[in-house]
Symmetry: C2
Subunit: 137 residues, 2 copies
């Protein structure tokens, strides 16, 4: 299996990519005119989505009764070029009643160590750490 | 400087992230119901946009008279979990009249070796190769 993707310059420094029936626009808040998010932010979103999908699937399999689920990322960047992430910290926030912490932790560990390709690729570059917050409601 | 991003589970295995005034939806074509592109495709789009922005900016500075610019990526994946990229090949396709190949090559080399943070992070994981095609029209 391989991915084939093509991006097209539109104007300024903005690009558009057609993918799976969607159009993803990219631009730079700093230098562009705001036609889309910046590439490195998209990289973090890719990471969040990848691990999020794993954790949701695993929580479903383990019958964790979550009602809401959010992941927050904090990713500091280097000051010099090439501007890259120094680290990425993920906060998994799971909401629900009678959530068993060990089941959610197991889901996150399986994602971070076995399934989440984006996390595993990112870890070749910088540390990816995480914490879990359970909101009982 | 640091990025702070938050993604929210919506339904199934789909997620939405608010970023720079845009909403980026993610889902999985294979397992989801098609609410958005998959995370690893988004990672390639991030790479394409990051190097694309560099190359456009550098070509502008070097007064390369391009009229269209596209980048195609081919990224084969491993068969086993964690599914990660084996490599990424980028084809930069620059269209215009009297395009000087060496100026475009210099732009790409500067992006790939100095400026494009996403390429540089990705190269910690797998080879990122490239070629340049100039379309005279």
């Amino acid at each position: 299996m391989e991915y084939r993707l093509s991006t097209e310059w539109t104007s300024g420094i903005a690009f558009e990519t057609e993918v799976d029936g969607f159009t993803v626009a990219l631009d730079s808040a700093a230098e562009g005119i705001g036609k889309g998010p910046s590439p490195k932010k998209l990289m973090i979103i890719s990471l969040l989505g990848c691990t999020g999908m794993d954790v949701v699937s695993l929580m479903e399999k383990m019958r964790v009764p979550f009602t809401a689920f959010r992941i927050e990322a904090v990713a500091p960047l280097t000051d010099e070029h090439p501007k890259v992430f120094k680290s990425v910290h993920l906060k998994y926030i799971v909401t629900g009643q009678k959530i068993k912490r060990e089941k959610v932790e197991k889901s996150i560990i399986l994602s971070q160590e076995r399934y989440c390709g984006v996390s595993i690729m990112m870890k070749k570059h910088c540390p990816v750490t995480w914490e879990l917050v359970i909101v009982e409601q």
